[in-house]
């Protein structure tokens, strides 16, 4: 079958599943007084439309920051403003100042879902298609298979179309950034990534690899001469983009400070709720949240984050090629997720580990279906299990190390068994979380178990990926790249 038809089928399948998920409930549906993320997005439309710019991030009589105050960078605010204009055209009641709090109706839900679909089609999906087209090895069928897997990724679908957020914008922009860098258009890539950063500060997780890659590339080109010019151009692009995005806030020095204060709420403590990162899991054993002072917590998280991202970043700096870049992205985001301050579980966007959140939103059915579908699909299309021979895992060196201690172990078999075991554990945990009642002494038992299980997985992943990136055994040009 021709390429265009396969790709369009892919896209259509992705779009259909997205819209099908959107039929279901959203975050905070019918739950006054605070509702959920859906209400937050609607509220931001209300605030940005009705209030002048200098009041958006401040606590005023018209803008109560305790009720879903803006806590994303300016680009989100501008996006909400545009949506608000459209909303006003359709039904002014949706963005009435104060009066529209907690507004819920069928047509409003359609409108909100449509905005997500629109930005998805505009930004995220083209990026994915281009990425698969240009940067995937293999026949066109394999490219399409990869595209399908990415487009059907349950985490993003469930968060964006179920729970309700606009992650596809920031992720899409970041993907455009990666595309730009991969194609050698450094300026375009930096521009796209800066926009992504200005949309959600979560993208800071990816910023270090971008920085190291570009810096490394410039150094390679020689710091005196071409490299320097390149560096200057990139810096200029980034600064100008930042300036343009923040322009309305630069008139008064108090403004940017307040915005930053909203973006990085250090006052809120090490973590909230149940997150699958180190601090939350550690808290089960040692109550670090109460034991250590806030300053110590900040310092500890900073130090550990730095510790875990430094090796990968330095390696990238020394060898700025695309493969290293991609690995560094993974490592950096994992490190930030595991060790940084005030991490939200959405930062990981992995569906299977977000059961508690999704069940709360009444999204159990879509979660089960999309996760199963995704799992099945990736198993089938990507033959993940067949590929887990040692070569593919690039663990040759690792094997040599462990041979001393664990002889006679077939590493690939272990990995396969581990995979199935994890799957069973996840399934069992999902099942029990939904159907069983936790014992009275530990009311949070199941979410905590889910977090800890996920945390252990992530820890394993970060170690694995770091090893892969750092050890980089001899490989020929024709070998496959990772995602």
């Amino acid at each position: 079958m021709e390429n265009w038809s396969l790709f369009s089928l892919c896209v259509l399948l992705g779009l259909t599943s997205r819209w099908a998920v959107s039929f279901h409930s959203y975050s905070g549906a019918g739950k006054p007084p605070m509702f959920g993320d859906y209400e937050a997005q609607r509220h931001w439309q209300e605030v940005t439309y009705n209030l002048p710019v200098h009041e958006w991030y401040f606590n005023t009589t018209n803008n109560d920051l305790n009720y879903w105050g803006l806590d994303y960078p300016p680009l989100t605010a501008y996006h909400s403003l545009v949506c608000a204009y459209v909303a006003k055209l359709l039904n002014p009641e949706w963005v009435e100042l104060h009066a529209s709090r907690g507004y819920e109706s069928h047509s409003h839900k359609l409108f909100m879902r449509a905005t997500v679909l629109f930005t998805d089609i505009l930004i995220y999906i083209p990026a994915v298609l281009l990425y698969c087209f240009y940067f995937c090895d293999g026949s066109s069928k394999q490219k399409v298979a990869t595209a399908l897997c990415i487009l059907l990724y349950p985490g993003l679908i469930l968060i964006d179309y179920g729970h309700f957020q606009y992650n596809s914008v920031s992720l899409g922009l970041a993907l455009w950034g990666i595309l730009g860098l991969g194609l050698g258009w450094d300026l375009f890539g930096s521009l796209a990534f800066t926009l992504a950063l200005n949309y959600k500060q979560m993208e800071l997780y990816h910023s270090l690899p971008f920085f190291c890659y570009l810096l490394g590339k410039c150094i390679k080109q020689g710091l005196i001469g071409r490299g320097f010019f390149q560096l200057a151009k990139i810096s200029l692009t980034v600064l100008v983009t930042f300036a343009l995005c923040w322009m309305p806030f630069l008139s008064d020095p108090k403004q940017p400070l307040q915005v930053l204060h909203r973006l990085f709420p250090f006052g809120r403590g090490l973590f909230e709720d149940k997150v699958a990162n180190t601090w939350c899991s550690l808290n089960v054993l040692i109550k670090i949240k109460t034991l250590l002072s806030r300053e110590t917590q900040l310092f500890l998280s900073f130090a550990l984050t730095l510790l875990f991202i430094l090796p990968s970043s330095l390696k990238l700096l020394s060898k700025p090629n695309l493969w290293q870049f991609k690995l560094a992205l993974v490592n950096s985001s994992l490190a930030f997720f595991l060790f940084s301050f005030q991490v939200h579980e959405k930062s990981i966007l992995l569906a299977a580990f977000m059961l508690p959140l999704l069940v709360k939103d009444g999204l159990l059915l879509p979660y089960v279906v999309t996760s199963l579908a995704f799992l099945f699909l990736s198993l089938y299309l990507l033959s993940a299990l067949e590929r887990s021979t040692e070569e593919e895992l690039r663990l040759g060196l690792y094997r040599k190390l462990t041979r001393h201690w664990l002889p006679k172990l077939n590493l690939s078999r272990i990995i396969k068994w581990k995979f199935w075991f994890s799957l069973v554990a996840m399934a069992a945990l999902s099942f029990t979380s939904v159907w069983l009642e936790p014992p009275a002494k530990f009311p949070d038992l199941f979410p905590v178990l889910v977090s800890i299980l996920s945390f252990l997985h992530f820890l394993g992943f970060i170690i694995y990926f770091n090893l892969v990136q750092l050890m980089e055994p001899q490989r020929k040009k024709s070998q496959k790249k990772t995602n």
């Binding site: 396969l6 259509l12 099908a20 293999g138 299309l381 990507l382 993940a384 590929r387």
Partner: protein, 511 residues
């Protein structure tokens, strides 16, 4: 992380596809129309709570029992399982009762039905001989499966065809009688099947050139066939005949009191007839050939009403439609009587019978077009011409189903799914018939492309104009008429291909 591997597993693609469809259905389960559930709940309730003599008289709910008795017995059996889920749903006055247990039961039954469907499709695919070495997406059975699975269509026709291919005629006949007693819509294709059985089965041999050998008539076989069919009908209708309720049952099954057309005109001949009538009446008034006061009230401003009175052209009665239908399918029946062409010829005749009944029938529902499309898809993977006709018919008929899903929420879904299906059938059939030029001629392509502006006008532009208030039915009428043109065209082409196809002695893949 890892590379994509080529899809070489033989059996697993079927399961992947089946699971994919099921997943999508699960996601869309929220969108299922409550009326379907209510219909089934009502039927479960009345078969369970009322005595048999009341089944076809019960009219508390608007969804009266209008399927043949065997289906009623089936619902009765099902209601015993439903007991365990929620007894309240089986109380007849509980209109629109929808407790969580009820909904769960309904959804489970849908899923089970799907499983049966998948099995049927799988069996059907076994009939097709595969060429080794063709890549997966080009394999006819893959295409067929996708076309069938993604056709929100009917089941057991495949099973019958499966039986046919393996020459299990008795089972086929039995199944068909059962089918007929489950859903009388299969009456559309009963003539084809009947004639075919008579011709191929009761006459055990044909001459060398395929014509009839009268002497080979086997009375035994005819008697056995007759017994099977009659006994099935007896089991199904028996109690009602004994109670003397046959006229009532028939009147429920074939509600001729309802108008010539559904509230939304199915895209058949009568849609074109209606529009011609309207056009003539408007022109007649304009040119003062007709007196506006003499015309029936509804014809000028009323839209798609059920009791449609024709003003200029003669009104159509149920008998007229029956005659037209029979006339339309007679040549095809005669053709397979004269020169049956094995399974391929039978299929073609089947399609024509279904289409003919759709085109000329009384109060046809647009879903009935699916009856013709399923067998046609079997033909499409085997022959170029049929593939072209299939594309025309399937795209047109899918589009004609759009007005059934009219909420804004379903708009993206129906567009995406339709595009999905169209692109897939187009691309895969193109790949299958790579050699030999285009599948569709320019006229057909233009017609199909014309669906896009039609959709834009009907769904997006028209509601924003002033006419939405005064002539709200216009988009429906436009859709109906436009699709009717396509369906008529396909019908004519199919007929031509049936009547002109030479008797082939070459081996067909179906046999």
């Amino acid at each position: 992380t890892v590379m994509a591997a080529p899809m070489t597993n033989d059996q697993s693609w079927f399961y992947a596809l089946a699971l994919g469809v099921s997943f999508l259905k699960c996601l869309l389960i929220n969108a299922y129309h409550s009326t379907d559930f209510e219909v089934h709940r009502n039927w479960l309730a009345l078969t369970h709570s009322l005595p048999v003599s009341q089944w076809y008289y019960e009219a508390t709910s608007e969804w009266t029992l209008d399927y043949p008795p065997l289906f009623a017995w089936f619902e009765y059996g099902l209601s015993h399982i439903a007991c365990f889920f929620d007894k309240e749903m089986l109380v007849v006055p509980n209109l629109n009762y929808a407790s969580p247990a009820t909904v769960l039961f309904q959804r489970l039954s849908v899923i089970v039905a799907d499983v049966v469907f998948f099995y049927a499709v799988k069996e059907c695919c076994k009939c097709l001989r595969e060429d080794k070495g063709k890549d997966l997406l080009g394999k006819p059975s893959f295409i067929l499966t996708v076309l069938l699975l993604w056709n929100f269509g009917l089941l057991i026709v495949d099973r019958i065809l499966g039986d046919l291919a393996i020459n299990k005629h008795f089972e086929g006949a039995f199944l068909f009688s059962v089918l007929l007693n489950l859903k009388h819509i299969y009456l559309y294709i009963a003539p084809a099947y009947g004639i075919y059985l008579l011709r191929c089965f009761c006459f055990t041999q044909s001459n060398a050139d395929g014509s009839l050998q009268w002497r080979s008539f086997s009375v035994v076989r005819l008697v056995i066939l007759g017994t099977i069919v009659l006994s099935t009908f007896a089991v199904s209708f028996g109690p009602f005949i004994a109670l003397g309720q046959l006229p009532q049952v028939l009147s429920r099954l074939f509600p001729f009191k309802r108008g010539l057309c559904h509230a939304y005109w199915a895209p058949n001949i009568w849609a074109l007839y209606n529009i011609a009538d309207k056009a003539f009446s408007i022109l007649g008034v304009k040119f003062r050939l007709l007196d506006i006061n003499k015309l029936p009230k509804a014809s000028m401003t009323g839209g798609l009403v059920q009791e449609f009175q024709h003003s200029v052209l003669p009104s159509v009665s149920p008998l007229a439609t029956l005659v037209c239908t029979l006339l339309s399918i007679l040549p095809a029946l005669f053709k397979i009587w004269h020169r049956p062409n094995g399974a391929r010829g039978f299929l073609r005749c089947l399609v024509i019978c279904a289409l003919g009944s759709f085109m000329f029938g009384w109060h046809v529902h647009e879903k009935a077009i699916m009856m013709a499309i399923l067998p046609l898809s079997l033909l499409a993977v085997d022959s170029r011409k049929d593939a072209g006709i299939f594309l025309m018919l399937s795209v047109t008929s899918h589009y004609s189903l759009f007005p059934l899903l009219f909420t804004t929420q379903e708009l993206p879904i129906k567009i995406f799914l339709m595009l999905l299906f169209t692109i897939f059938s187009l691309a895969s059939l193109k790949t299958l018939f790579r050699k030999g030029g285009a599948l569709l001629n320019p006229l057909e392509v233009t017609y199909l492309l014309g669906l896009i502006p039609l959709e834009l006008i009907c769904e997006f532009v028209y509601p924003l104009t002033v006419w939405q208030k005064t002539f709200p039915f216009l988009p429906l009428m436009l859709t109906s008429v436009y699709c009717a043109l396509g369906v008529t065209y396909a019908f004519i082409r199919l007929y031509i291909s049936l009547l002109t196809c030479s008797d082939t002695t070459k081996k067909t893949k179906m046999q």
